[in-house]
Amino acid sequence: MSEPQIKLPRQSKGKRPYFFDDPAIDQMMTFLVELTAEVSVVYDRLDTVERLLETKGTISRADIEAYRPSDAIESERVARRDGYLKRVFRMHPPQATYGKGGTTAKPAPAKKKRRRRRRQRSAASG
């Protein structure tokens, strides 16, 4: 007699730490990292389809599910994943201080005028 299916927990015990002042950024990072995994899975599936089609005229879902890459093909996939990781998670280079970004540039005068006009308009309408 077979035993009943048991659900395994997905979360570990204990509080989850957050590293940014705003935990929403940690949450977004989790979404982002998880998403990169899903893209990689889709890429592998496409790679499987392409490789199967190279040898067979038509393929079924079962063919895809049953496919397991050889050592050589898996090595190609590893190289592709490493390149993908390097491109997606391109860290800003370590430097002495952070640049001030766009805020060091003086706003163009035209922009200033537009902003002032908008403020005046909103004051007039309000």
């Binding site: 077979s2 395994l8 899975v41 370590p94």
Partner: protein
Amino acid sequence: MPFQAKHDFLVESSHDELSRQNYVQRLRMHILNQIGGGMRAVYDKRVKPQFEKSQGRAPKDEYEVHVAMLSDNYGQVWSTMMRSCQEMVWDSVIPAVERAQPKLNERIRGLNARYGTLTLDPSVKVPRYVSATDIHLMPGNYHTERTADDASQGALYDRGRFVYNGGAAGPYADAIPRTIATYIRRKWPDFKPAQALELGCTIGSSTIPFVDGFPECEVHAADVAAPVVRYGHARAEALGKRVHFHQMNAESLKFADGTFDLVYSIIMFHETSTKAYRNILKECHRVLRPGGLMIHMELPPVGDMDPFEAFYLDWDAYYNNEPYYLKYTHEDIRACVTNAGFGNDKFFQVLIPDLARSPQAFEAVVGGEVIKKTQVARVGESAKWFTYGAWK
């Protein structure tokens, strides 16, 4: 290569699950080596100078480095990715284990052992240092049983740890124990253990290299958690290896005094409490015969590390559910070993290069060369194993 050696009890993952597991392996290596590799430069170029500017001195210890690094954006990005990735390791394997569970337990229960034995002891109480937290964020930890004869935590650990290692420890995930067993054999060729005991063996992947390394030796392996020894027994049988597994607490072994010639553990102590560490060392001394060898591979002590390296190594203690790790890496191991009954002159410690990854350096250390620098040894970054012990 990213392939794990197959055996009859390794869970089957689907096409997409395997793809996800293989991605997580590379992701972890990328975070460790590529992103983590930049941490030192961030510290030297930005964090340390800023600290010096505001405080008028350099950070004095790892705790100050910890706060400063995790206040920096780079440290925050690295940390949050490390944490997410660690969660993904188990998440990528759990569905396959869940699917396999009923049948897997049934097959293990009906196992007809041809090589070794399994001795379970339901009276063994899981100590708090195992039950209180899910070490390495593995949901359910080593000990959770959800049904009679449950071995699923063993199955999860087997596949999940391989994903975690990224294959760096070889197809059987046993690079460290293989290195240590070979070191013992090569360093002390006259030492011929007849009985050996591994403590904290989990699924026995660290036991089998000792079976291979000492074919004349009767090898026993103990762990407090039933699911992992159950699974380990099945795994060893599937691989045709003679191991005698016991569900036993290493703090109170059921073996008589002077039973073993060799007692060892592979990266176990940092998952036990300060009190347990001392109790286990005493038990090692008790169950060893005079002239026997106690040897443990563990995290290197942080005492002589620079504050940055100590912070980097201790990160896991805080954020990877390893609460005892910090106390352990700050222990005076020589004092603990001698307090357990071993002679001060019988104590030794050695940094052993990995046998498979750096065979020449391994040979040099067997020949007596000493590697002075204690390096950061998180799996995937280093290939030198800190090992210590004593002769009785």
